[in-house]
Amino acid sequence: MRTTCVLTAALLAGAVLAGGAPAAVADETPSPPPSTDATAPTEAGTSFRTAAAVRPGQLATAGASTGDYLYWVFPADAGQNATVRARVALPPAAQRHGAQTWQLDVYDGLRRRQACTFGASTATAQKDTESVELACHLRTVRAWAEQSSNDPLPGSYYVRLTVTGLADDDLGLPARTEVRADVADAGGSRAVDGSLTAPLVPGASTAEDVKQPKQAVAAAAPEDGWTSGTWSSRWIWTAAGAALAALAGLAGYALTRGAGRPSRMSPSA
């Protein structure tokens, strides 16, 4: 009886660990390759208010004039690492008069600029190059943060792409831009306590006001909604730890008992 139970429990604990540990260890699983679905935006917004909503993994494209400020917005949820990549196909080299510096900025739902932990968010293209690529990897989105901190919180993230340095003669030339935001699960090791009642989405409190047109960002909620931040692989680790402790307890108890019934005892005792 005991052997069967211990065996079953050990198997189950193994299954729990096998299920839980990879989820926690294999951080940074890349999102699936860009889907070429028809819903991907082909236009960009020109301000925070008009930012074009893009879903993570979608490739948003936009034609623009050099000098435009282009805005997109995507949702990122608690426990996610977001990476924004942008590619600008510059105007033909024959028309350009000098080097161009492009910049990618990411702002959170409160319009606070977010730091890029790695990735070139500013890049300079020489006169003869055809395109410039930019990237920005954000800090892990936390479920909760102190009011005085600037930590990324679940909600909308704005991407602003623009040229910051150029020869004056190059203003207004046509350029093609591509932006893609990917989110990856950061794993339970980054799961923090606390939660916001509403994600950091502009107009969260006026979203139900039907008199106002729906803000683009409200449409940009994650496909399966905002998580409440209560689930993380920490539950599995802790449960597995408890199970292991119980098993180890049983094993320890069994050790002190020796291998079954002492031989000196009579069978009838």
Binding site: L12, T50, D168, L173, D193, W235, G241, A245
Partner: protein, 430 residues
Amino acid sequence: MITRKRLAAGACGTLLAALAAGLLPAAAAADDRLDTTEGAPTEAPKVELVLDVSGSMRARDIDGQSRMAAAKQAFNEVLDATPEEVRLGIRTLGADYAGSDKQLGCKDTRQLYPVGKLDRTEAKAAVATLAPTGFTPVGPALLGAAKDLEGGDTTRRIVLITDGEDTCGPLDPCVVAREIAAKGTSLVIDTLGLVPNAKIRQQLTCIAEATGGTYTAVQHKDQLSQRVKQLVERAADPVVTPVATKGGTSCTGAPKLGAGLYTDREQFGEHRWYQVSVKPGQELRASVSVGADRAVDNDYGVLVRASTLSGREIVRGQESGDGRTDVISSGLRYPKADIETERGQEPPAETVCLRVSSSFSAPPSVKTAPGLPVELSIDLVDSPSNASDVASFGLGHGWWLLGVMALVGLLAGLITGWVSRWRVAVWRTN
């Protein structure tokens, strides 16, 4: 023996149940609240295309065609592609006066097609009659266009297509544009220049910058029609129109704002105050963008402070930057802790003073009035549930945790075993 077996079976059952529970991941609760609101019917957006029909439009330098022909072709394509809901009008400048009197020529602007529901044939016919004629009075044309678009609470856009700078003076079209933008809550002027000329570019970028619009240097016919189409379609996208407000010079007497989107104008070095009342159990979220709608110095910043009525700072949001920019933004959160009140009693709301300031500066040649555009967004949501631990629910994570728990479990098992053996031995000897 039997007792022990039953105990072991019981423990085993509980253990298995606990493990099974651990295997089922809790379904993440989805909050679809934000997805349920449908876009409400809104007032039709208005667009006016302002076309330069000055004499210089005869020049044949766009894909071998005259500028006028290119513009006409682009207009035809744009009129075909204009979304149904857009109210579109057309205004010309320099279309009628062929003389050489500058005074008269500089007043030559007229509405060719009124802003309203678009009759494509009629509009096209009107455009077809145009022939390059007179001067380039951009300033008066913009004023006229702003007048044509007046009324209503909708988004308004002027698309200016020109091949020459305004030489009429003394009305600087750039100043005109800024004044127009300061009057209306949401009017954007996009400019398209048909000639790559430094002066025109300067003037057109200045006009675009002053209103948050864009500037395009047109080189090809296709580019022209594509860009105008794009701009007209942009106008059709429904956006939230902010409410104009005027911040106070101190917190007392500052306007009381609720949740919503507001605009204001703030001069260089000026402080603007607003009041927001926050109930216990609510979180105030405020974001501020200050726009650089004119030539400003290279380094700048923005500061938004939330303070109590007595002046104690609660929290601040700040940002600084340098180089070319459209806006500089920052934001803050202030969750107010919930307090216990007696039944039926409304807890007293706290008045939070918001102060917005920016460190934009400009060379002396730049006009300071009207002030820089400020966009203020205020949200009031329920307070968050604060963290009581660094880790989610205080739960553990990692192999160290497992190791410690297994070790402690083993020790506990051993001790329990030894103690029970010792007790049995003692009982036996007695």
